[in-house]
Amino acid sequence: MSLLQREREIIVANEYIDNFDFDEVKEFITNASKNLFISHKFKNSDNILVQPRGGFPTYDKVFELYGEFKASNVDVLPLTIDSNTRLNDYAMAKKMLALSEENDTNMLNGYPLVNHGYRTTRKMMVHYDTPISLRHGTPDARLLIETALASGIFEIEGGPITYLLPYSKNFPLDKAFLYWKYVERVCAEYSKLNEPINRESFGPLSATLQAPAIVIVIQLLEMLLSLEEGVKSFSVSFSQTGSMNQDAVSSNVIKKLARKYADKFGHTDAVINLVYHQWMGAFPYNKNSSDALINTSTVIAAIVGANKIITKTRDEAFGLPTKESNAQAVANVKYTLNMLKGLPKIHDEEEEENLTLQVDEILEAVFNDNADTLWRKVFNSIKKGYIDIPFSPHIINHNEVITVRDPQSNIRIYNKGNLPLSEKSFAFDRDKIRLGENESVVQKIIQDIGVML
């Protein structure tokens, strides 16, 4: 038995789950319908795939939610995991699931997949025969991913950086790297059986004033860490910045650099997709405004040429959306994408050049770290503040980088902290910032967070 397999046996020997039958799972995946694989759908579709977010505590509610989504012609179904499971607190998840089932209310903000188990969950996935994407935010996702893959969920979102810095306060970063290595390997292994399992990174990060350069660096690093373990289908992603031009610039640069670095590291056979998240920051409390915001995100996704769009709903500011409003959001996005034709190509050479420069500069510093493996280089870079994101709750994050918006609403680096940026590429950003008279940076940040209100 391989080391990995031994570790897997230990992981699935968990008091909260029934016995785990690896052979049966292997057989299931080998013979699974192609329709469950998003990698297959990416290959065979010219259109942007539409994927909502969503998860409820009980099986029945998720089943109904999927029914609504299918009626809206959804392309990819989501399974969003509750926040207790995300932090491996299966006990609390169990308790809240029981309360939810008894009282027919939602005491969890997502589906506690581990508690439900793969035998139950798979029924639903096979029933709908549509790709499902797992959305969690879990630094130690080993058991969760085993359960997901066994359930027929063949796209796994996350990564050691993107599911840690925005999602955890003090989970050890080095452990996160190792646990995600496990996830990558399991995905790579299963990818040999049928169509590839798709891995997706989470570009929105803390969804608040993220500088494109940092986002792209993190996307590329998680991509490389994943491909390194044998994954063959990977999606990089970012979320609407608040400036249409910055979105276009980000898109052009991330597509170009993802391919470049994948090839450079020898992964020429890997397929790389681009995912665009509709506005991830603070939403307006006016639902008509939310509709307008969502529609605008859709238009931008189409213009920047994403392969998949992940949607929000008009309920965003209020709480978990009802299944009806979630399905309505999908229907609206589908309508818009269908109707939207004659898309122009947007280029901004100067901006693209500087963004490329910033990304290359940071990556160079990361690669130059003298650790022996890529994950250790990345680990050190985060510790040193070469990678530092605004609004991370995590204690390892330096929290020195400060970003604000320029007058066109582009997110610009105001304070570069320890980011290894040249004077030139930093000045390009910083010089575009304009503070009002008597406006403090803090005031500006608060205003910029609320830019869509």
Partner: protein
Amino acid sequence: MKVVTGVVGNDIHVVANRLIDISLQERGFTVFNLGVNTYLEEFIDAVIETDADVLLVSSLNGEAEGWCRDLGILKSKFDLSGVVFMIGGNLSVGEVSTEEIIPKFQNYGFDLVSHQSDLNEGLDELEALLKERL
């Protein structure tokens, strides 16, 4: 005045927490910010340790209901009669009306409950209550 603040439960939404920290400081409070992902017991410990006047809990991701049910029990264990208990943010999973939520959290033992409302208005209320109590 000393305030202990933080985000309760397995909730990692940090943006509001940062703004609350800044706003409290601007209003002259001494702030002990426990950050996100803080359990009720940790809050109570910090209140006792720092001899705080206010416990200001945030919850954004809808977990508050699950985590705050036991506040009464905890309060009964210690003498915290001088402390103002406040909670705010987004206090339920899904969309629930404010009228429904406020009494629920008052029953749990909060003096001030602020659901999906403006931070500054909430802090104004807090200061008004503190003045009253003097």
